[in-house]
């Protein structure tokens, strides 16, 4: 089975997000009201061939936590759909 996986990497709460802060200031400078909590993250997508959804999820989660993110600074979210 082939799956399309999406990994989102976000800075953990409490870790400064200077890019998000800067973009937030730019949005405010443009005059848009009511926009707060701007955060910057990364999205990584990949195709995975595996015998089951569980196996694919496990594999992608392992990649996401060992290589794609640093657990000291970042959290990950993994989404999988059948391709």
């Amino acid at each position: 089975m082939r799956f399309r996986a999406k990994v989102e990497v976000w800075l953990r709460h409490g870790i400064a997000d200077p890019e998000g802060h800067t973009v937030s200031e730019a949005i405010n400078a443009l005059g848009y009201p009511g926009v707060t909590d701007v955060r910057m993250g990364k999205v990584i997508s990949m195709s995975v061939d595996a015998e089951s959804r569980d196996v694919a999820t496990h594999r992608v989660f392992e990649i996401a936590t060992s290589l794609l993110s640093n657990p000291v600074l970042e959290d990950v979210m993994v989404e999988l759909e059948e391709a």
Partner: protein
Amino acid sequence: MTSKRVGIVVFPGSNCEHDVAQVLNNSGIETEFIWHGRSDLGEISGVILPGGFAHGDYLRPGAIARFSPVMSSVIDFAGQGKPVLGICNGFQILTEAGLLPGALQKNARLKFLCQEVELEVANTTSCATSLAHKGEKLRLPINHFEGNYTCDLKTLESLEANNQVVLRYLENPNGSMNSIAGICSKEGNVVGMMPHPERACDDLLGSIDGLQILKSYASNL
């Protein structure tokens, strides 16, 4: 006595390896460049991970370098109590590899910093500060975007309690917790620091304070 040889690991994107080699060579220490794809370190007494942008710093600085074939040998080498020094990008790689705790995140105020800073030696038992005295002031250059040392509070307390902070900024330039510029392992043989001692070893470069670091390191080979 056989001469001591230091292995300087070269990743695709390293760019400070020749500077480190020259300073060590001038002090009578032999050096050898070790390509990151090698899995054995050969006959060496110390390892240095130099500055630069290993693997383009893609994902995060050190994220991909940590999985280079040479790194499992570096981890074994460190485990034997032998001296391992990571400078700038090398420090980032050491944290990614789990040889040192914490991580280096983007500088406060998203500022790339390229300047000379004043540092205080906080620990004189590490392999890179053993010839310095506690409280000694050093002027060394920094040149980084991700140098903001960060860890959880428990790790920070344990670093302080175990005397693992090696260098502190006198004026914190990048937002690092407790003004940390460099740390070491509990045993003191693995040291990581953001400042570049190799760029401050000649009067022509404005400071020779880096010699305190690299001569300390050489004395522990």
